[in-house]
Amino acid sequence: MNAVEVDGVTVRYGDVLALDRVSLALGAGRVCGLVGVNGSGKSTLFKTITGLVRPERGAVRVRGGPPALARRGGTVAYVPQSEAVDWAFPVSVREVVMTGRHGGLGLTRRPRRVDHEAVDRALDRVGLTDLADRRIGGLSGGQRKRAFVARGIAQQARVLLLDEPFAGVDKRSEGTITRLLRELAADGAAVLVSTHDLRSLPDLADEAVLLMRRVLVHGSPQEVLRPDNLARAFGLDVGLREGEPA
């Protein structure tokens, strides 16, 4: 059973076609890179998998069931783009990670001992234990991303969706996050990451999808990075020189 199956999905915002008959399958234990220009439908694809956007045609299945069931089971974790988060919000790193446990809590959502332990383990795993009581906005770009990944870990999500986790993140943090995502995949999670950083794609991902409202290529990172494929996704001027993927 695939972790995520997207089957002939078409999404339209008014007159704008955002996704055009997109089909792809993500296996458990794999990291898949999602590559495409701005407006190619990457964020829409994430929203379709979580069920925030309903497709006009086609269907999404998460671990064999409808997205609504996966949501209730806490199967899917979503790491938002930096621009989508209010970094001035008065909430600590620990509190953000605790929201990963939120769905499983009772009427008043009061965390139990096991929830606190799960949060501690998640913070430890991403290396943010020392910064746990800082305000989330007080962290660096890379630490912020790790905090949100920790939320997915605390949630025990089997599918992780990350929207541009490397934007505004320095090289060292990028390496840390990449290592973390590889570990989570090794533990059996399916990880879908949208990225503009084509150079590190082979280090990050087992497979990659080139998206331009529809799936242009779905294959190995090397295949996606072939100049002729990139030219189709990014326009003809980019990446045509030999050995210069982007």
Partner: protein, 292 residues
Amino acid sequence: MSPHELLVVPMGYGFMVRALAATVTAAAVCAVLSCWLVLIGWSLMGDAVSHAVLPGVVLAYVVGVPFALGAAVFGFLAVALIGVVRDTSRVKEDAAIGIVFSTLFALGLVLISVTPSQVDLHHVVFGNLLGVDRADLVQITAIGGAALLVLLLKRRDFTLYAFDPVHAHAIGLNPRLIGAALLGLLALTCVVALQVVGVVLVVAMLIIPGSTAHLLTDRLGRMLVIAPALSVCASVVGLYLSYHLNTASGGMVVLVQGAVFLLAYLFGPRHGVLGRRVAAIRSARTPPPPAG
């Protein structure tokens, strides 16, 4: 003036005791709600709903049902209309809010002018704190207490909704429902505050305490304590001042709230404009730690 004359003598009057109880209730529930309103960016929505409930209150009076019911209906109506105007025309949200709430408010004014004289326009618009009777007080404490209870019991849901509604959705919650609940509580809270400071100044009770608390702390949990504490204190001080200075009570309550905000804005230790300077100067004076 002795402390006894200053603080105890006013409470010899039944109307002052009821006014105090009403003020404290309204200040507390408004302040708790305001923490989420200012963080979500719904301050204008608070303004809109507080004005838009007016026709609901008048109609409820005419029909003979509780004010809260009429207010809730028109509160939701306002929010729905704002959404419709914003989403189905080229009008932007701020303009949609302005159009809807001022039109509904005007409808309320017209309705007051044609209903029998018991609804006093001046009281509805500017509050009638010193005229709160026993029945009013029961209604204020019942609605205010219920709203406060729901806000506090479900505070973690509201906080998650305010911070990251997409995550709330992804883990199986219904962000629309949480948002609608918050707006419903906003409409009920407006009814409570309406009696204290009037339609025009309700928005002050809904925005100032949360904003002040946000200047003083980086934790929402602490905001939820600081905002009502400051708001209740400011309101009680405002009520006493209005008694001794013989000024408009609703206006005085809001004036003191504004003064407290100004103090936090200037002298807040981390986020106040002067507080930041002082901290910077202090750290500059402190000799750097020895190297090594």
